[in-house]
């Protein structure tokens, strides 16, 4: 049901590179799981509102007060590469 082309398309959207082995396994496993999931297609859900959130909270607001946040050097501490007080990444144009 989920063929190789679809697996590759979804993997590209998710920024994952799969080995041939993984592609094959993913194709059969996702097909199995989606086959099970498709049973919800049998339900009559006309007029049923979707639930995005179970708690009856709308617009959780707080006073807009200035408070200290993480210091820049602390925020950068765990980064693989930093330069000039920012996160350093490979060029988006390269490759």
């Amino acid at each position: 049901m989920i063929d190789r082309e679809q697996v590759l398309h979804v993997a590209r959207l998710a920024r994952l590179e799969l080995t041939d082995d993984e592609i094959q396994r993913m194709s059969s496993e996702l097909s199995d799981v989606l086959g099970h999931i498709e049973k919800i297609g049998e339900l009559d859900l006309d007029g049923v509102a979707p639930t995005t959130h179970v708690v009856a909270v709308t617009n959780a607001l707080r006073p807009d007060v200035v408070a200290p946040s993480l210091a820049r050097d602390v925020a950068l501490e765990q980064a693989p590469e930093v330069a000039d007080g920012g996160f350093l990444v490979p060029s988006p144009q390269a490759g």
Binding site: I37, L43, H53, V54, E77, Q78, P80
Partner: protein, 477 residues
Amino acid sequence: MSTDLTELTASQAVAAIERGETDATELFEAYRAAAQADELNAYLWVADAAPGEPPPAGAPLAGVPLAVKDLFCTEGVPSQAGSKIIEGYRPPYTATVVAKLAQAGAPLLGKTNQDEFAMGSSNENSAYGPVLNPWDRTRVPGGSSGGSAAAVAAGSAPWALGTDTGGSIRQPAALCGIVGLKPTYGAVSRYGMIAFASSLDQAGPLTRDVADAALLLRHMVGHDARDSTSVGFPGEIATPSAERLDGIRLGVPEELTGEGSGVEAGVMDAFNATLQLAQELGATVESCHLPHAPHALSAYYVLAPAEASSNLARYDGVRYGKRITGGGGLPEMYTRTRSEGFGAEVKRRIMLGTYSLSSGYYDAYYGRAQRVRTKIAEDFHAAFDAFDFVVTPTAPSVAFGLGTKTADPLAMYLNDYCTVPMSLAGIPAISIPNGLSEGLPTAFQLAGPAFSENRILDAASALQTAIGFDGSAGRTR
């Protein structure tokens, strides 16, 4: 005191410290030694010393140490969510619930192993190796809070924090013979929990008994300005005291206990025996219906992976964790980092979630699953008009052998059959040990309306006494 300090429940340890019979530092050291000697792979990190200062005078948890699931951020202490992609990550801040418990006098003992990003029901998806079940080391402890459950069951922690998205506190508690409680969604802050599925994730206690669960939960709940989905808890979590269940109406959903539920015979026998005990304590027991419950797992395996695929987009090798380069530019770096950093189950769920959110499939999967979620919540509302609690076995089987379900994702997902419906409805549920089958723990689950934790704990406490489960066997193996 000459007795082994680690034999005390957390509540007993608090009382012993308050009476001056036990010293908090000695207690911490006893558990630190036990955690360091752990052979179950339950811990990924153990504190190298007891806290330098004693707990503040009058701190309600008196210095009784706490094991914490790896995915809670703890400042300066590895917080890896069981994943290689953030191996060695030491966050610059601490999760609200961990900070609150430390403030209440429960210092951090260690970080416990878990399925990678909390995705799993057996702890075999940890990048740091599986956790073994203390009742039988050839079997899984359940997941995803498997390290927390195994540590508490084996006695290397007095109590532990876990998180539950579709059963990840209750199911490992069940398989390890301890108590696990998933609170009402929003009762506990999620700030500093490494996210899996944000509309479902909730922190909760794993403990040796119901009183300990109540005590820990009392100091966990509360609104947090840093989590806009937290609502706090109306009133206080009380110490459970009920001995009887007079007038309590228990509903047994046919959809989760009858044919097709997949609950094995030994687990069902133990469940039925406890229904009998409940009646002897004064409860009424009747069957009820949750008509959409058989579809809960399907809805869950659309919604949770969809949220996960979005939440896990942040692991891109830019701000923290692993980065894999090797030629090419930024997009190639993203892809290499993620492809090498994530394990098989995480990739599977990211793929599933990305697929169901992708153009052309959104309405058929994600949109429908959200509507099923509404129906499931309505089913529970209707059930609670006639019943105080809905009760089920927690897990359909006792702990299964390591490696026996890893090849079949769908079979693994069926472990969550009885726990996922409550997660989708956002309601609280507790799992308590319910005797043995084949020499291994089985468990009984009670679920109630939103914010009914006090009534659930009371009923669970009365049942616990009647069941008389002896968990000490788990601590000697």
